[in-house]
Subunit: 290 residues, 4 copies
C-alpha cells in the first residue's frame, strides 16, 4: 500500500527501506532535503492517494506534537496518522482526541528493534481503533519479524506506547541485572575468564536472552570493557514507567533502581553523598575528602 513516512533518520529511514523491500510505496519526508522525497508535509499529503496513511517517526515531544498538529490541518477525514516514535502515552491520548475531532484516525505504535530491525523486523505494539489498525495491517505485517510474534494490538489509543514504555522499563531492569552480575564477578577476583563465563551462559541457563547475546558480543569486542565509560543515558521511557507506577501505586523497586543507577552514572560528584560525608564529619570527626 501507499504510506507517507515523516522522519528519515536511523529508525525512520530503515523502516522506509524495509517497507519498500516489502512492496509498499513510501513517500518520505525529512527536514534534511538530501533524504527527502518531497519538499514538505503538504506535498507529502498531496502525493498520497486517499484514504491516506502517514507514519510519523520523530523524536518524542515537541517535534512529534508539531507534526501531528500540522498533519491534522492537512489531512482529510478517513486518513490515519501513525506515531511510531517514542511518545508518551498521554501525548497519544491528546493527539488521538484532537485528530478524532476532525475524523482523522490515530494509531500509536511502539517500535522495538533498534539497528537490527531492518533485517530482523521490528516488534510493534499498537494502540488505536480496530478499524484503523485493520487498515494498516499490511504495513505492520511487513515491518514486524517473520512468524507469529512481534505484533500486538494492545488496546485503545495510547496502549501501544504504554506497552512499549513498560517493555523498556523491563529492559532497564534486565540490563542492570546483567550489569550488577558482571561487576560482582569482576570484583570477586575468583573468575579467570569473565567473557568466557558470560559466553557459556548462552545455552542451558535460565538467563539466556538476547541481551546476554549482546553482552557477549560487547565482551568479545572489548573483554574488560576498558574502552567504555560507565555513563548511561536514558531515553524517557524508563522515567515514564516510574512515573506511571507512582500514579498507579505500583511498587517498581527493580526498574526504579535501574533508572536511578543511570542518573547516578552521569554525576561527577553526588550532592547527596556530600551531605553524607559532611554529616559523618560532624558527628564522628571522620575526615572528608575535598
Amino acid at each position: 500500500m501507499h504510506i507517507g513516512m515523516v522522519g528519515l533518520g536511523r529508525m525512520g529511514g530503515n523502516m522506509a527501506e524495509r517497507l519498500r523491500r516489502g512492496g509498499h510505496t513510501v513517500v518520505g519526508y525529512d527536514r534534511d532535503p538530501s533524504l527527502s522525497d518531497v519538499s514538505g508535509l503538504q506535498e507529502l499529503v498531496e502525493r498520497l492517494p486517499a484514504p491516506r496513511a502517514v507514519w510519523v517517526m520523530l523524536p518524542a515531544g515537541e517535534p512529534t506534537r508539531q507534526t501531528v498538529h500540522s498533519l491534522g490541518e492537512l489531512l482529510e477525514p478517513g486518513d490515519v496518522v501513525i506515531d511510531g516514535g517514542n511518545s508518551n502515552y498521554r501525548d497519544d491520548q491528546e493527539h488521538g482526541a484532537r485528530l478524532a475531532a476532525k475524523g482523522i484516525g490515530f494509531i500509536d505504535c511502539g517500535v522495538s528493534g533498534g539497528v537490527w530491525g531492518l533485517e530482523n523486523g521490528y516488534a510493534l505494539m499498537v494502540g488505536g481503533e480496530e478499524e484503523h489498525v485493520r487498515r494498516l495491517m499490511p504495513i505492520f505485517e511487513t515491518l514486524k519479524p517473520a512468524g507469529e510474534y512481534g505484533f500486538v494490538h494492545a488496546g485503545k489509543v495510547g496502549a501501544g506506547h504504554f506497552v512499549k514504555m513498560v517493555h523498556n522499563g523491563i529492559e532497564y531492569g534486565m540490563m542492570q541485572a546483567f550489569a550488577e552480575g558482571y561487576e560482582l564477578i569482576a570484583a570477586s577476583g575468583l573468575v579467570k575468564d569473565v567473557p568466557e563465563t558470560f559466553r557459556s551462559w548462552k545455552e542451558g541457563t535460565v538467563i539466556r536472552s538476547w541481551l546476554l547475546d549482546l553482552l557477549v558480543r560487547a565482551l568479545e569486542d572489548d573483554p574488560g570493557l576498558e574502552g567504555i565509560r560507565g555513563y548511561a543515558q536514558d531515553s524517557g521511557e524508563g522515567r515514564w514507567t516510574v512515573q506511571a507506577a507512582v500514579d498507579h501505586a505500583v511498587p517498581l523497586p527493580v526498574i526504579t533502581a535501574a533508572l536511578y543507577a543511570r542518573f547516578a552514572s552521569r554525576q561527577d560528584d553526588s550532592p547527596a553523598m556530600r551531605v553524607v560525608a559532611a554529616l559523618r564529619n560532624q558527628f564522628g570527626g571522620h575526615a572528608v575528602e575535598s
Copy 2:
C-alpha cells in the same frame, strides 16, 4: 566413563539418566533404597574403578558437607569429588582444601537447567584444578547442551558455584523486572489482552529471553495468574549474592530489590509497616488499621 552419583532426586536422577543415555556407567546412591543402586557410600566407592569420580547432588549445607566428609574417608588419592549442588562457594573452598590434604581432587559445578535439563542439557559452571576438570570432561560434555555454549571452567575451586550464584542473582533481577512490568500493565487498565502482549514480545524486542518464553507459557495456562499466590521462596543463592556484594563493596540495587521483594512476599503483615502506621498515627492522627 564410570561415575558415582550421590543423590537421585529430581536433579540427580535426571542427570544420571542423561549420563546413561550418553553412554556412561553411573552407579547411583540415594538414601531412598527404591532409587539406589547400592546400599551406601562404601559400596558405591567399591563399585567404581580407580581413579574414581563421585558426583554429589544433594541439598547445600549439612547434607552435602557430611557426604563430602564421608567420601574423604572412603576415597583414595587420585579420586575426584564433584559437588553439583547449590553449595556456597565458601563451603567449596573448605571442602577442596580438606580433600586436597588427602590427595583427593574436588570440583564445584554449578548446574542450571531445572526440569528442562534432561532433554536440553544442563549449563555447567565449573571450578577446580585444570587436571581434575580435564579428567571429567567426558561427563561435562554429556551433561551440557549440544553446541559451543553451556560450559565454563571459571577458575579455581569455588569459582563454579560463585558464578552459578551470580547467575541466579541475575535471574532474580530479570524475573522481578518482568514481574514489575506485568503488574504495571495489569494495573493500568489500558491493555485489553495482557497475555497476548507478552506473547508478542517473543520476537523483535530487546527483552526476548527464555524467561519471557516461560512467562508466556504460564500466562497461556492461567491468563490472569489467578491460581497462583504472590508468594516466592528463595533458594539461598540470591542471599549469598547480596552477601558477597556487601563483602566486596559492590552495589547491587536491582538484585537486592528482587531478593527483598521475595522476603516481603512471604510476610502476612510487615512489622516495619506497623511502625510506619504507628508513626503516622502519632504525628498526624492518621487512623491505623487493626
Copy 3:
C-alpha cells in the same frame, strides 16, 4: 490582623484557634455550617477589611483549585490568597499566575506540625513574592513555633510547597529507616526488651529525633504494636517527591524505597510476585501456593 480561613477541619480549625489566641481576628468558612462563621465565600470576603488575606486550608487538588478560582472572582487587586494545604507546587504556579493576572497576590505555604501544632506551633515553608510574604508576617509569626526556627521564605510561588514536599519525602525515608531497624531487632530474637531499646536511644545517639520520640510513645502504648496492621497510606507528597526527582534526574533510592514499601503494604497479594512464583514453577518445578 484580620484573616479569612477557608476549611475548618482538623488542621484549619486548630490553626484558626492558634491565630485567635495570638490576637488575630479570624473569619472562618467551612461547608459544615456548624463550624462556619459565614454562609459562603462571598460573605467571608465581605467581612474582611481590604486589603484582604484569605488562607485556604483544604484538601489538595480539586477542592483547593475550585476555592482559589472562586476567590479569584471575589477578591480585589491587592488582596492575597494563601494556600496552606498540601498542594502540588505545579498547582501553585498555575494559581499564582491566574491570580497575578487580576492583581491578587498568592502565597503557597507548606505546613508541618500535625495534631501537635496547636500547642507547639506549625513549621511554615513559604513561597511567594517578598511584598506578600512581608504583609502576612504577623500571621506567620503567630502560627510558627516560638524561637528562631520553623519559618522559611523559600522562594517564589511554588517554592513553599516544593520544600514541604521534600520535607515529607525525607520524613518517609526516616520513618522507614526506623521501621526496618525495628523489624530486624524484633526478628533477631536477641533483644529481650525492644521498647526499652528504642527508649534508651532518646539521648546520646546519632538517631535521636522527634520521630524516635514518637516511636517510643507508640511502643509505650502497645509494646509489640500488636494492635496495628502493617498498612500505610501515603498522602501525595511522597509520590510527588519521586516524580520531581525523576523530572530532575536525581536518584532518590531511599525515599523511593520508602514510598514503595507503603504501596506494597496495601496489597493483599502482589501481582508481581505471582509472576515470580509462576516463573519459578515453570523453570524449576517449584510448587506454587494458591
Copy 4:
C-alpha cells in the same frame, strides 16, 4: 570504681577522661607509650584490684580479638572484660563463650556519641549476664548522658553490639534521606536559600533531629558543601546490618540503598554502568563515552 581501659585513641581517651571526671580510677593502656599508664596488658592487670574490670576500646576484628584473647590469659575468674568497640555481635558470642569457659565475664557495649560524647555522655547498648552488667553499672552511669535515657541492657552477650549495629543501620537510612532531600532541593532551582530552608526545619517539623542539627551546622560552615567531595566511607555496621537482615529474611530496602549509595560514591567509574552503556550501544547504536 577501678577500671582498665585498653585503647586510648579518640574514643577511648575521651571515655577514660569522662570516667576520671566522674570519680573513677582508670588505668589506661595504649600501644603508644606517650598515652599509656602502663607498659602492657600484664602491668594493667596487676595494677587493678580484683575482681577486675577491663574495657577494650580498639578497632573491631583482629585488634580486639587478640586483646580479648590476651586478657583471657591474664585475668582471673570473677573478672569482667567489656568490649566497647564496634565489634560484630558474632565475635562477641565467640569471645563471651571463650572467657566464660575460664570463669571470666564478658560484656559487649555498643557506644554512640562520637566526638560529642565527652561532654554530653555516650549512649550505651549493653549485652551480657545480669550479674556482670550490674557490677559495671557505676561505670555505665558515668559514661551515659544525664537523665533517664542513653543506656539499655538489651540482652545476652552480643545483644549490645547487635542493637548498636542496627542503630547505625537506621542512621545510614536517615542520613541518606536528608542527603536525597538536599540534592533534590538543590537541583530544583526553586529554592533561593537552601541552608536557611534546612535551618528552619529545626522546630515544628516531623524531621527535626540531631542529624538535622548537624546538617545545619555543616551548611553554616560551607553553604554549598563546596569543600566536600561526595565520597562516603562505611565503618562495617551498615554492612553487618544488611547481612543480618539477609540471614533473617527481613527486607531492608532503605538501609541497603543507603549502604549501596556509599559503595557507589567510592567508585570513579562503575563497571556495572559500563555494561549498561555497552548494551545500549549494541542494540540501539547509542554512542558510548570512553
